[in-house]
């Protein structure tokens, strides 16, 4: 991997309190993130039934399962874009269940989207500056009059963006519009935005989809570095089984809206139900690009009756 490892990631305003990772094998590791008994149905269709997931401080947890298993639906529930029929979402012991997506993001929950949702008409630099939003506070008047505090905040945001661009080698593209980048670079920008945002806990939805093999190989070490240096805990959906199993401390496997297996990667991959649901059809693994029906929630209104993929790729 050609990415520079000598460069330290930019200093981030991470809450120092829980920054120290508890050592491996510690019996009372705090559960940083937890969701319990999530139920979602679209009309009469059960998309998620009684899904519970737990991620400890500092862990990278993988989530696998065939298309339509409900992984992205679960992410939408966790990040607040979809309201579950029942169940709770906890981050750091705090109940997020009733909060709006942006409030959850402020509390340190980050997420990426399957199709690398960024601001395509804005420059790379501006994308990164937007990612700083949660670390800045000044309002309209302070910024409109460019008072000292606002100017300082701007300089810090710019410094963060600049340092992050250096780390992920995006500096040559800083002026380019995000929409003009190659897909692999766009995904890199997405991760860079995550770095700037520096969430306590981040949901990555298929970060390796659509990018070249070489870039996929670079992704694993990069994610590890993000964890080491940012003290970020990661829950990752990925279809690239070798990558995700090599990366994860633990894994969950889902099928038909349920968690069917949980544990160490090897254990999960060997689980008979997982093999039956997913790995039993190797010709489809990793080739599935069929877009899933949109289940996100642009407005608080529930989108009802979106047809599910039926568990099998079309």
């Amino acid at each position: 991997m050609s990415r520079s490892t000598s460069v330290a990631l930019p200093a981030q305003p991470v809450a120092p309190a829980q920054a120290a990772r508890s050592s491996e094998g510690d019996t009372n590791t705090t559960s940083l993130f937890e969701c319990r008994g999530i139920d979602v149905s679209f009309g009469g269709l059960k998309a998620l039934s009684d899904v519970s997931v737990r991620v400890d401080e500092g862990e990278i947890v993988g989530m696998i399962g065939p298309n339509g298993a409900g992984k992205t639906t679960l992410f939408n529930v966790i990040s607040g874009f979809l309201v579950a029929n029942s169940g709770k979402v906890l981050l750091d012991g705090r109940d997020l269940t009733g909060l709006l997506p942006y409030e959850r993001a402020r509390l340190g929950l980050g997420r990426t989207f399957q199709q690398a949702l960024l601001y395509r008409d804005l420059s790379v630099l501006e994308n990164l500056l937007i990612a700083s939003h949660r670390h800045t506070r000044r309002g309209l008047f302070s910024n409109g009059l460019r008072l000292g505090a606002a100017a300082r905040e701007e300089r810090e945001a710019l410094e963060r963006a600049r340092a992050t661009m250096d780390v992920v080698d995006l500096t040559p593209y800083w002026e380019k519009k995000a929409g003009a980048l190659s897909y692999g670079t766009l995904r890199m920008l997405e991760l860079a935005c995550m770095l700037v945002q520096a969430p306590r806990f981040v949901l990555l939805d298929e970060p390796a989809s659509g990018i070249a093999q070489r870039e996929t190989e670079a992704l694993g070490p990069l994610l590890r570095r993000i964890r080491e240096q940012m003290q970020t805990t990661i829950l990752i959906i990925e279809h690239d089984i070798p990558m995700v199993s090599g990366l994860s401390d633990r894994m969950y496997a889902m099928d038909l809206g349920k968690v069917i297996a949980e544990g160490a990667p090897a254990q999960v991959l060997a689980h008979p139900e997982v093999v039956a649901s997913y790995l039993g059809r190797p010709e489809t693994v990793g080739l599935e690009e069929s877009p899933k029906p949109a289940r996100r929630r642009p407005a608080p209104r529930r989108t009802a009756g979106a047809p599910r993929g039926g568990g099998s790729p079309t």
């Binding site: 050609s2 989207f113 630099l125 937007i130 939003h133 800045t136 309209l140 409109g144 300089r155 710019l158």
Partner: protein
């Protein structure tokens, strides 16, 4: 590669950290020159026209704040301008308020109306929102403008005097200074906040609501903020406008004007605050140039049509985007720069000359 050595270093002045001091000096000098040159070199009529341009640029700015920054299309611009104009006139005429208080109230009166249209607008986008704002504009026109003579003076309209604050602003030149001052303040404020997290949060909301929320941006807050800001600027422009022409009736703020403003800003470039200025330039140039010759008068609407088609077909970011692209091209060829600068100044002077000699009513001179 180590730390991206071969990479271009991001220039210091990018986005947030422009060398404001230098820029401020240039801007202040330009404004000062304009302030004295316009009344001194041209007559009272052209000073009036230039003031008119500033008012329209400000109205355009109110639309840029809403449509350009958060992507909400509004066809009620003229209504908000009218509300501001009539409010400032009414509180002066009926209650004897001073100009500054009247102008302030003109800005603030738009807030409840922004709230009224803003909340339903959170669920509407694009064409649907445009239609909703149009309906709202028509509603205010019928109920408030036509139905409340106290505010609008009915068919005969309202008459006001130019303000007197410490010094009289009665003459066209003095009033031009006042408008120029307010305009520059609004422009500077917009320039500053649009390059800060607030402006970026607005653009993020326009570009991608999902991603914006996932990054902790309260899209409802920023949309409402844009509605409020847009309304305040429009109301303020209204107050300046009615004091410029010293009279106004609701006929002047029909929804036809909203379309005109909208097209003007789209031609100028809706996504940039410079677009509002360029749109104002376009409006003034074409009306004043074409007005001079009887035969050409009928082409004013056609000029707008042609401009709009040009934008839709080849330059979605309007004149502002076009000039920016051209400038980027010129920047790569330093030798061209001087030539372009000279051509630009020649064009400026030429247009001015054309305007003064052939355009509009003959300049006083």
């Amino acid at each position: 590669m180590s730390a991206g050595v071969e990479a271009l270093r991001v220039p210091r002045q990018v986005s947030g950290a422009r060398p404001v001091g230098k820029l401020f000096g240039i801007a202040a000098a330009a404004v000062a020159v304009t302030a004295f040159a316009i009344p001194a070199l041209t007559g009272s009529y052209w000073t009036y026209v230039f003031t008119y341009f500033l008012v329209y640029a400000m109205i355009g700015l109110s639309l840029v704040l809403l449509t350009g920054y958060v992507g909400q299309i509004s066809l009620m611009g003229a209504t908000l301008v009218g509300l501001g104009a009539f409010t400032s006139a009414a509180v002066e005429v009926h209650w004897g308020w001073p100009f500054w208080a009247a102008a302030l109230s003109a800005g603030l009166i738009t807030l409840p109306f922004s709230l009224l249209i803003g909340f339903p607008a959170l669920r509407l986008r694009g064409l649907y929102l445009a239609i909703a704002t149009l309906a709202f504009a028509k509603l205010i026109e019928e109920l408030v403008f036509k139905g409340w003579p106290w505010l609008t003076g009915g068919f005969s309209g309202m008459q006001v005097h130019r303000p007197h604050m410490l010094i009289p602003f009665e003459s066209d030149a003095r009033y031009f200074w006042l408008v120029l001052g307010v305009f520059c303040a609004v422009l500077a404020f917009t320039y500053n906040f649009s390059r800060s997290r607030v402006g970026r949060a607005m653009r993020a909301t326009r570009e991608n609501e999902l991603a914006a929320q996932a990054m902790g941006i309260n899209i409802v807050k920023y949309k409402m903020l844009a509605f409020f800001l847009s309304g305040v600027v429009a109301g303020l422009a209204g107050a300046l406008q009615i004091h410029l022409s010293k009279a106004g009736s609701f006929e002047a703020y029909r929804f036809y004007l909203s379309f005109l403003i909208f097209v003007m800003v789209v031609i100028g470039g809706v996504r940039s605050m410079w677009g509002a200025l360029l749109g104002g330039v376009f409006l003034i140039l074409q009306t004043e140039l074409l007005r001079g010759v009887e035969f050409l008068t009928r082409f004013t609407d056609i000029a707008f049509g042609v401009g709009l088609i040009w934008v839709v077909l080849s330059n979605p970011e309007g004149l502002a985007g076009y000039l920016r692209d051209q400038w980027a091209w010129v920047k790569e060829k330093p030798r061209w720069r001087a030539l372009v600068a000279v051509a630009f100044v020649a064009f400026d002077i030429g247009t001015m000359w054309l305007l003064v000699h052939f355009g509009g009513q003959k300049g006083a001179g």
